[in-house]
Structures are given as structure tokens and as C-alpha cells.
């Protein structure tokens, strides 16, 4: 509770004292938007942590070895993540649903376990330390990026691209028969999402002083967490995943009374939200929640039968 009192009584002090948290919210928001884009085009891809890893390692290594400025490193890293996204997308995007999800898990774990943990330049299991990280400057950079990205993606979903994606998501065969180039539009969504994830990874590497190749950072655990942002928040609207990211990142602060049992409370919270609002927090139906079957209901008035 102290957390929220601080937020409202002294916003400026809050901003400087919770820099890392605010930065993390922005980064999670960007990754959640990247997840939103693939889901919006009907693809259950869990590849985001892989692209984040590429963004993080490339940007930090460029800074360490070539001493190029941070902004350029991040841009190059994001572009490279997009390029890898294109190359991975070529074979993978033929798959659908759970198959795509598992193939992308194969990609991120092969990248993490097979490459990152075994190539000397990445620091292997120890990770990389990034002396050029700048938490406070980072946050001032992350928040505008986040807002711009969410706005751009929102505009994209409202345009021609967005219509094509929505059509593909609802029925791929029907979209194909309407002359929509399904493979191309899926690839566009996948590559943009890879770009965003790569950018988020680069930002994250410059927010903290260490790039950690752990499971929770670039592995399946992270992928599942990102998926949770999107599904919990609601994947029908751009703001849904962002809200999901915000809520999940803040959960430990909201339920700080739970102490060490925080994960139990978070798990119950996840189940409850998804059961009572399967469409996500931001979604159709306004604020209505679906009532459980045992909830008392008003008796329905049946129409009088004619005659």
C-alpha cells in the first residue's frame, strides 16, 4: 500500500525512486505490444524472448567492442532482430496454433542453450556486464519509445494492414480466398514484432548493468510471461496487452501483504481473471464479468405463447 500512497502523494519523487520499475513497465509494455501484433494476425508465436536476446546481446556487444553510441547500437540490434525474425519466419510461419508456439520455443531454447551459452563472446553462462547502462537516462528514453510504438501499432491495426491481419486471424482460408496474400501479411506482422522485441531487449540491457542469459530472461518462462500479458490484458485491442503488462508487473506491489506467498496470490489472480473474463481485461463487454454458474441469477421472463 505504501507503494500507491507514494505514487499519489509525490509523483516526481516516485519517478526517481522507482526508476527501474517504471523502465521495466515500459519495456514489458513494448514486448506485450509485440506479442499483441502476432496474436492479432492469428499467430501464436512465443519467439519474443529470442529476439530480445538478440537485441540485448548485439547492442551491448557493439557498445563494448566498437564504442558506438547507445542509440545506434539499439537501432542496429533491433534491425538485426527483425532480420533474424524474417529468416526464422520463412520456415516457421507455415505452422499454426500450438505447433507454431512449440516451434518458436524450439527456436528460443536452441538459441539460448545452443548458441548464447556456448559462444565465448556472449560471456556464456555468466552473461555480460554492461558498464554503459544508464537507468535514469534509460527510462527517459523508454517511456517515449513505448508511447510511440503503441501509437504506431494502433494506427497499423486501423489501416489496410490491420484489416488483412484481422481477416487472417478470423479465418485464414476465407482471407486467402478473398485474395489476401496470407503468407506475406503474416510475415510482415512477425518481422515487425521481432523488431519491437529486439528493441525492447536492447532497452532492457541498457536499463540494468547486466545481461543475464537465464531461463527467466530469454527462455520459456519469459515467453510464457509475455503471453500472459497479452491474454490476461485482452488481445483484441492494442491497449489490452499493455494493461496486462502493467498489472502483472505491478502484482507484487499490489499484493505486497502476501509477502513470500506472492506467487500463490498471483497464480490465483491469473486463474480468476481468465475464468471471469476469458476475453481479457480490455475487451468486448465493457466492465461486465461472466458470472460463475453458481451465482444467483434473476429468473428469465419467458415470452407469452401466442394463442
Amino acid at each position: 500500500m505504501d507503494f500507491f500512497i507514494a505514487l499519489f502523494s509525490d509523483p516526481v519523487g516516485f519517478y526517481t525512486s522507482h526508476t527501474l520499475l517504471i523502465g521495466q513497465i515500459g519495456i514489458n509494455g513494448i514486448v506485450a505490444t509485440s506479442m499483441f501484433l502476432v496474436l492479432y494476425s492469428g499467430q501464436l508465436s512465443l519467439a519474443a524472448p529470442g529476439f530480445m536476446a538478440i537485441g540485448a546481446y548485439v547492442s551491448v556487444l557493439m557498445g563494448l567492442h566498437w564504442h558506438t553510441p547507445g542509440a545506434i547500437n539499439m537501432l542496429v540490434a533491433a534491425l538485426l532482430a527483425g532480420l533474424v525474425g524474417f529468416l526464422v519466419g520463412l520456415p516457421v510461419l507455415r505452422l499454426r496454433g500450438v505447433f507454431l508456439a512449440i516451434a518458436t520455443i524450439g527456436f528460443i531454447e536452441a538459441l539460448r542453450l545452443g548458441v548464447i551459452l556456448n559462444v565465448p563472446i556472449t560471456g556464456e553462462g555468466l552473461g555480460l556486464s554492461n558498464p554503459k547502462a544508464d537507468p535514469l537516462g534509460g527510462v527517459n528514453f523508454i517511456l517515449p519509445s513505448f508511447i510511440v510504438i503503441v501509437f504506431v501499432i494502433w494506427r497499423l491495426t486501423k489501416g489496410r494492414l490491420g484489416n488483412a491481419w484481422a481477416a487472417i486471424r478470423q479465418d485464414e482460408l476465407a482471407a486467402l480466398s478473398q485474395g489476401i496474400h496470407v503468407a506475406r501479411y503474416k510475415m510482415v506482422a512477425f518481422v515487425i514484432s521481432a523488431l519491437m522485441a529486439g528493441y525492447a531487449g536492447a532497452l532492457e540491457a541498457h536499463l540494468t548493468f547486466n545481461v543475464d542469459p537465464g531461463e527467466g530472461n530469454f527462455g520459456v518462462t519469459r515467453a510464457v510471461q509475455i503471453l500472459t500479458f497479452a491474454v490476461l490484458g485482452g488481445s483484441g485491442f492494442v491497449l489490452g496487452p499493455v494493461v496486462g503488462a502493467l498489472i502483472i508487473t505491478l502484482l507484487p506491489y499490489v499484493f505486497d501483504a502476501a509477502g513470500p506467498y506472492i506467487n500463490i496470490v498471483s497464480g490465483i489472480f491469473l486463474i480468476a481473471v481468465i475464468i471471469f473474463r476469458p476475453q481479457g481485461i480490455v475487451g468486448r463487454g465493457g466492465l461486465a464479468i461472466i458470472k460463475p454458474s453458481w451465482w444467483p441469477r434473476r429468473a428469465r421472463v419467458s415470452a407469452p405463447t401466442p394463442g
Binding site: 505447433f99 542453450l113 556456448n118 485464414e172 497464480g267
Partner: protein, 304 residues
Amino acid sequence: MDQQIVNAIFIGSIYALFAVGYTLVFGVLDILNLAHSAVFMLGAAVTYTLVVSYGQSFWVACVGGILVSALMGLVIEHVCLRPLRRRRAPPISALISTIGLALVILAAVEQGKPGSFFAWLWKDGANAVAFPVSTIPNPTWHVGNLTLEAVKVAIIPIAIALMLLLGYIIRYTQVGRGLRAVAENPRAARLMGLDVDRIISLTLVISSALGGLAGILFGVALGGISPYMGRDQVEVRGLAIIVLGGMGSVAGAVIGGYLLALIEVLAFITFNSSVSGGVAFAALFLVLILRPQGLFGTRLRERI
């Protein structure tokens, strides 16, 4: 080398048992039950606690562990799956609700320390433990240059017998016919007078009991019982196995389990320990791209 291959067969049996439960639920419900690895861990943790904290014999504890796992199957169905099914929620929401339950189970065991609220369930916190040596009789034989421990050798017939039994049930009994009918088309199955909810509950009970047993066997053979054993050891491997074998195919999951263990051992021999995990996932990636229906899957559902 020979010893490594033998080890691959032990581990493969455990993987197969675990993956059979995974694939059974996917086959019937088209849902990935991500709480399955938590049930795997819970089975081992409960058995360990019964032996160490409550002084039960290993066999009694085993039965207890399997019962708790089976019960957890009912919890998964009633808490995570049935409410969503009633609402015709998309399958992806079941993914999230089972993740939520996995989080709860893992956190409960992780917080089990002497003096804490969950001390009755688990007393070693985040540490990895093994069954005390005296609790399980474990004669060891030397055949040629191989070392065979009884507990590891016993895993193979146990796993194979259970999988054959499951295959028999699915293929030849009334229950199995109901199960296959629901897998084929739940709506038609309901119209034919089948109690679909009950069949799905039963599927989850069988799946979770097998998952819990796999956890117990893993703990017996390899030690390393910890709150993270499911997440770290079998969660992603289970996914890889059911893809290798073809989603929803029980026989495929069995073969996939042994195959993955073999690939890992060969990669371990050829490269080193950390690359081997990567090789397994690279294999998974390749199989999905070249043969999306899995090595032994026959059909890939196409929406029309």
C-alpha cells in the same frame, strides 16, 4: 558409451511416462495442460515428504503421491478447464489458467520450510533433495562394463507395462471408446449420450497420475527433488516429445520420449553438457518444419 545408452533408456522411460499424460490431454481436449509439470513435481514432493517427515514406508508413500497427483488432475479440470469450457473460451485461455495453477503449486512447495504455512507439504524450501538411501532397497549389478541399479532397471518394465495398459484401455475398453469419441468430436459424443465432462475428468486423473508417477520415478532414479524439477527438467522437454511423436498420439509420445533421451545422450557424448539441450531443441525445430505432423503422427487437422 554403453552406460550412456542404458541411461538414455531409463530417462527415456520417465520422459515417455510424463509425455503420455501431456499428449493424452492434448489429444482429448486440444489443450496444452501447462500444470502437468507442476503435478510431476508435486508427486515426487509428496512422496518424499511422506517418507521423510511422516515416516511412511516407500510403497505407502508412492501410493500417496500418485493419489495426490490424481486428485490434482480433478483440481485442474474443475478449476482451470471446466469453467472455461462452459464459457466457450478460446483454448489459449486454458493455457493461462493452467499456468496460474502451476504457479500456485510451485509457490506452495517452494514456501514449504520448517515453521512456514506449508511445512506439512514440504520442508526443504527451494533445495533439491534425494530419498534417503536406506528407504529404498537398491541392489546393484555389474554386467560387463555396465552398472545396473535395481531402481533404475525397474523403471523400464514399470513404464512399459503402464503404457501398454493405457494403450489397451484406450483401444479396447468402453472407457477408451468414450475417450476417443470425445477426442474426435465432443459435441457428437454428447449427442450420443456420453457424459463428456466425466470422460474429461477421467482423462485428467489418468494423465496426472501418470505425471505424478513419472515424478516419483525421476526422484528415485536421479534424486534432485525440488520445487523446480518439473519446470526445469520436463516442462519443455515434454512439449518437444509430444511434437516429435505427433500431437495427441500416445504411441508417438512413448517413442518420442525414448528418442529425445537418445538425442540428448548422443549430443552430450559428441559435444558437451550445455550444447546438448540446444541440440534437442534444434531437432524439435527441424522436425516441426520438415514434418509438422510429427514423426509418427498421421493426420494434421486442416480447417475447412
